[in-house]
Symmetry: C2
Subunit: 486 residues, 2 copies
């Protein structure tokens, strides 16, 4: 059941560095813990089994293909697809409840869109290659740069603020080890053109509505919030130029993965003095808004914005989800203000979602500067969490009518009946071969049919079909014309 998705227990970890699953406190420890569970091994076995199932050389065979998808990727058979669709439908429904409009950009982009020099894992693991025309292209690792590109391309005809969402597959190339994958899907919501914290609050409200709709609450989820402006204030104090906030954040983001002296080493490599480095690390240990105000001073922009966010959260009714955590900086260089990420309260899983403000991405691309905020929400960790909590549904395959022809001479008529029911909006499975009734009953269960519609000679002569209600087991003969209304 949903093996493909849930067996990606390690895949989101594999996606470290992505917007939805950046490395965070305790992440590395959990990674090692997870790596020692039996899940990936079971998965490997399943894969091996699948490789054999149904595959045997035949006389016509021109050679055995590998029936597994490309290493690090997933197939979605009907059952897996239904569960994925349930998740995506929730993403979409929430986005629409917030008045957001959907967009899509190609999975293939120019490499230049993702090449940044801040040392982010996401750009180091780019799934890039040269096309036959010598063009450097990449399978996108995240959606935000494409969004920025599209906004620039359409800027002349857009009115702002634009509120856009997308659900798209993202790729990375890294050596696959057990269970580490090369693709995942990501839900993004972005607001382009709103400078104030109201934008971040609205984005968080959308996430919270999603969480509520799938059965989670603030008892399950904590949203850690901070601002890049905290680090910026500290760096200003040591006369480090503002442009360093991004690269410094990328290093600070690794704090839970690498030892502290290595972090200090990397900060030194960015030109930070030992004092500046200590100041940065100290700032990530602040425990409350009052303490932060003490560190940065009354009237500091980061403090004011965070206060405003907490206040708006009260208004929306999701303040109980929020927690100030200045160690939360996110691993993408382009954030400029508020940053946030969602974690399970139990601390068992990696980040569930993450986002923030990126006011300078459009101008970095050569466009007009325009305030932006957004988030990415992956399809892997949330499924793990919902499964752990018994909240994952098993959406069934369902049709309304199973139409069966009892005599091949009547097949044309049965086809006509099926088509008529479909025109009236009923979902109809038509049995396309002569089958025994035993098979038909089993098929009715498999496809979740509400009614069996039997087209048999005796009834047909009188203009009737035999209808069996699958719930009541009641059988009646019904005139063909009345089939649609029943």
């Amino acid at each position: 059941m949903f093996n493909v998705l849930v067996s990606t227990q390690l895949s989101a970890a594999a996606l470290l560095g992505r917007r939805c699953a950046l490395p965070h406190r305790q992440c590395f420890r959990q990674l090692r813990a997870l790596a020692s569970t039996a899940v990936p091994a079971a998965e490997e076995q399943a894969g091996t089994q699948d490789r054999k199932v149904g595959v045997s050389k035949t006389q016509d065979s021109k050679g055995l293909v590998d029936v597994q998808p490309v290493r690090g990727t997933r197939d979605f058979g009907p059952e897996d697809y239904r569960l994925r669709q349930w998740l995506f439908d929730e993403f979409e429904a929430v986005s629409r409840l917030f008045g957001f409009e959907q967009f899509e950009t190609p999975v293939l982009e120019s490499e230049e869109l993702f090449v940044r020099k801040a040392g982010e894992e996401i750009t180091q693991q780019l799934y890039n290659f040269e096309d036959k025309g010598g063009r450097r292209v990449a399978l996108r690792p995240e959606l935000t740069p494409s969004l920025a590109r599209l906004v620039l391309a359409q800027a002349g005809k857009l009115s702002f603020p634009a509120k856009w969402f997308a659900i798209g597959q993202c790729w990375r190339y890294e050596r696959t080890t057990r269970g580490r994958r090369r693709e995942h899907f990501q839900w993004n919501m972005d607001i382009i053109g709103v400078p104030g914290i109201a934008a971040e609050a609205e984005l968080l409200a959308a996430i919270v509505l999603f969480l509520e709709r799938v059965g989670l609450s603030s008892e399950d989820i904590v949203i850690k919030v901070s601002s890049r402006k905290v680090l910026q204030a500290i760096l200003e104090r040591y006369n480090v130029p503002e442009e360093s906030v991004g690269p410094v954040s990328v290093v600070v983001d690794k704090m839970e993965k690498i030892p502290l002296d290595k972090v200090e080493e990397e900060l030194a490599a960015l030109g930070l003095s030992a004092e500046a480095s200590s100041g940065i690390i100290e700032a990530t240990r602040v425990g409350s808004l009052a303490e932060l105000e003490g560190l940065l001073g009354v009237g500091n922009e980061a403090v004011l914005e965070l206060q405003q966010l907490f206040s708006l959260a009260e208004g929306y009714g999701f303040a109980d989800y929020l927690q100030l955590d200045t160690s939360c900086v996110r691993g993408l260089a382009y954030y400029t203000g508020m940053v946030f990420e969602g974690r399970d309260r139990a601390g068992q899983l990696r980040a569930i979602f993450g986002g923030g403000r990126y006011d300078r991405l459009l101008s970095t691309f050569g466009g007009e500067e325009r305030p932006c905020a957004g988030f990415g929400f992956g399809d892997c960790v949330i499924v793990e969490l919902l499964r752990d909590k018994g909240l994952l549904p098993s959406p069934p395959h369902e049709v309304e009518d199973l139409v069966v022809v009892m005599d091949e001479a009547l097949r044309g008529h049965a086809a006509g009946i099926a088509q008529r029911l479909r025109r009236a909006g009923r979902r109809v499975d038509l049995v396309l071969e002569s089958k025994k009734m035993k098979w038909v009953f089993k098929q009715a269960e498999r496809c979740g049919a509400k009614r069996l519609v039997l087209v048999a000679p005796d009834e047909w002569e009188q203009g009737l079909v035999r209808v069996k209600n699958q719930a009541t087991r009641e059988e009646t003969n019904i005139p063909v014309e009345q089939l649609v209304d029943v």
Copy 2:
């Protein structure tokens, strides 16, 4: 409006060789005619304009990125996306009315899945490359081989017949000229496990239901049908081995693109005698089922199956769409029986959809032999046709409520109201900044709001909000608790 999709007037031509748009009679002539229209030029201009719009160097700029998507690909901004979604929703709705289940495979596949030696254009134009691990991979050019692979991978847990559908992006690499693209989307429906013509008839019934739902009829569309077994019978007569049916069909499929003597040359290169070659060409000129019976003999399998298809089509009620056309062979090597394609009656456009029976694809991949039939239906030609006929909708962006805060001190309360409405299932756009009423009214139009909900100090003090019905222009004060029920 929907520029991106409709401006692909040449793109389906560019997709010659794909399942949805294989070359056919008159296609080459039309291609040249299309190439001389103003559309691609206009498109090129638009592209150039877009490249400039909204893009100007700023002080922060680190360089100008190309804001256009990768050459040969399309962006879908909100307006284009809505139209595309309308089309995909119809594809999906029809598939579900037929009791089909959705699946998805990765856009990236092993190259070996598509490498065939029959000289098909689709494999010659493979968008393939080597990944960093030295693996030969490709962006899929079509969905059928992935479906076959997935069926083999899951064979042990599937029950047959399986009725599956997918909507996925397909790629090809070819030099782009004006308007020729490298990707399109394709709707596929496939039935795995049914050997009889009832499967093909069911697939055609699904296509016809789709056509009806979008406003087309048999006056607009003709479905040309034939069978690979016609060529097979001719080849048997000249002792050409059955394995040649595929490669010969690929050559015959080019008849409308290349001169007859070139076709004969290619058939000779496949080892066919001049007599066999003439026999093949003669067979493609048969005009009726009676004539075909005369050529192949009474009781010939192709003739019997075609008769059966026409008879079932009567039962379904779509016989008026069908036309026997033995020159219709389709350009994919793997078809083994019935083949069909949809064209506009006016003969202005390329193939709208195409499909057929491929009973040996699974065994070619090394799996158990299993009868299969399916079709591919692209997203380009159908949009051209619907636009020409004035049948393309313009789905608007729509929300129910536009919530506006009239005093920033009330922003938290307005947020609470918006969230409450959304929890109740209403689509709500919340204005995130202080804006003049003129802007608000314009925004209400832009987002298609049914109601304006104004949160203003005087009303709020009394527990009321001001609500303006956009249709009637009526304004009333409503208690907050009653907002949801109105």
